[in-house]
Amino acid sequence: MEFLELLSPAFFLLAAAGAIIGIVFGAIPGMTATMAVAVCLPLTYTLGLQEGLALLLGLYVGGISGGLVPAILLNIPGTPSSITTTFDGYPMAQRGEAERALKICIVASLVGGIFSALVLFFFAPVLADFAIKFSYVEKFLMIFFALTVIASLSKNIVMGVFSGLLGVLLSLIGSYDVSDGGNGEYRLMLPFMEPYLAFGFSLLPVLIGLFGISTIIEEAEKGAKESSQEDKVNLTKGKPFRFSVFKGQVGNLLRSSSIGTFIGMLPGIGGSAASILAYTQQKNLSKQPHKMGTGEPEGLVASESANNGLTGGALIPLLSLGIPGDSTTAVLIGAFTLQGLQVGPLFIGENIDTWYSMITALMFANVVMFVVMFYAIRYIAKVVLIPKFILYPIIVMMCTVGAYAINYGIMFDVWTLFIFGVAGWIFTKIGIEVAPLVIGFILGGSAEVYFVKSLESYGEYTVLFTKSPIAMVLWGLIVLSIVVSFMIHKKSKQHSGESK
């Protein structure tokens, strides 16, 4: 229990502050948990490891939870994972039951968050223990599997694979690092770029650019119109909230939390998939499926417990395998690097105190999120009214500070922010998907090292298939993910054809 000594009052204060700031970010349409973590990253530069992680995990939990506020009040999902919350939340708000809808969602979020934190606590060390046995071949196949899963769940499979590979290629820019067994030679750039790109593009400016600056550019293109309308924020005209609304919803809560946690474990899929799957599942099992979408609490329970279930789930592959489960955990990987920690199979064993303090921070952030949102929801609801013309310049300013400070004052990192901000805006227009691209960018460097070392060690290509039973199982999973995704795409095409 040595880790208890690490838990200072500042630790809890920062976790709470993170949760509150995250809620505010999530509550503002267009702002995401990823952006909250990215923007607040500079604050962690001078904090200790435990305090920094407490703040970031608080932001993560708060950011995911805050998205329910505009989803219910304005019919605009604050974060992509709140999309299904709008289906039943907004009709309830129109009936004057906004406070009831918000509180149902807050309770469901707490259950989903705590459930996933417990799964993380028990499951991540087991997975990490198993992953320690992996050689370079299995590690490469694990990354390959992650990339196929992400790509196969994209809107267009071929485009998803292309985007993932493009991310890998971008990550290879720079020198082939000697510390990774490389020859130190530069590649994929012109000679004049060598002073700037010797170590490639820094991860965080790329992420902040893709998720932060590109959002601002998109908003500018749409005219940065204010979406919040004061007359829509009407909380308490109709039925008040009672805990009895959860009678008969325990199965829904647990099932949706499990779906959220499981989807969170699959790299790069994101919260919208989790909440849509949980919502669809609940609709299939509901006694009154026709009523869902008209303001039914069971829809809110499914949606919100699933999207908060993501938080712990997405941390499982990050902490046990070093593979981020979603875009927010991708930014968290940068924060770990900043603190000199490398996440992967050895992380939990070698940093047991940090591991326990992370679980504590995650649990505590969920409780703070619940208390703050449950009792202060009327005030938090006002956040949706912050005008964009105040908010967006501050976001750009914070993104800039974050990018500049990441490598202790490199101006090129700030330009990276702009380059990837514009690139992210263009990518969405030409069909390149940002999620596989980001995961490809994060994992590309490791993929190269594991792939090249596997071939150097064994001198034959077939080793990638026949190295061990684990390798064969991973190949089976890779094939399965591709086949399943083709079937899903075919089915959804048939459905859309029938509906036409």
């Binding site: 500079p42 604050l43 530069y45 001078t46 904090l47 071929v158 485009m159 694979v161 292309f162 590979l165 493009l166 890998v168 290629l169 290879l172 020198s175 082939y176 490389g182 020859n183 130190g184 030679e185 590649r187 994929l188 601002i216 550019i217 500018a220 293109e221 749409k222 005219g223 940065a224 119109k225 204010e226 005008p387 964009k388 013309f389 105040i390 967006y392 310049p393 501050i394 750009v396 300013m397 914070m398 800039t400 500070v401 500049y404 400070a405 202790y408 004052g409 101006m411 700030v414 330009w415 702009f418 901000g421 514009v422 190269e448 090249v452 071939l455 001198g459 034959e460 290509y461 077939t462």
Partner: protein, 145 residues
């Protein structure tokens, strides 16, 4: 025949050119996939462009705000660096560039320039960068240009 098949399976990576080995594989795959995407989509995309169904910009795009944003952000970055060169090691490049940037960007995104809004924008343009500079540069010792 069997030897030829075995030779296909074996691989030797020359250390001097090893930095090109993996990138070449990725570029080849990108080229193949890119060609596939082009071949499969070029006709429908071209038809959609000609019929006006595909638009690069969103419908009723605000070109003025978009263009000014795309100019304002790099100017902000450039000026921050330039001021930082003249007044180094005080974070003043950030502070002095951020105040006009926040003001101009807020004015750009503000649809109703009433006296109240302009007062809020001006106060925000001075207070927000100053607070960030004070807290991050002085309190947290974060690097700033």
């Amino acid at each position: 025949m069997f030897d030829w098949f075995i030779s296909l399976n074996s691989v030797t990576i020359d250390f001097d050119t090893s930095h090109q080995f993996f990138p070449r594989i990725i570029m080849t795959l990108l080229l193949v996939l890119g060609s596939l995407i082009l071949l499969a989509n070029i006709r429908p995309v071209w038809r959609a462009i000609r019929s006006g169904r595909y638009q690069f910009f969103v419908r009723n795009a605000d070109f003025f705000r978009l263009l000014v944003t795309l100019v304002l952000i790099p100017v902000y970055f450039w000026s921050m660096d330039a001021i930082g060169e003249v007044l180094p090691n005080m974070g003043l490049g950030f502070l002095l560039a951020s105040i006009p940037f926040v003001f101009l960007m807020s004015m750009l995104y503000c649809h109703e320039r009433t006296r109240r809004n302009i007062t809020i924008i001006t106060a925000n343009a001075v207070i927000a960068p100053t607070v960030v500079w004070g807290v991050l540069y002085h309190l947290f010792l974060v690097s700033m240009p």
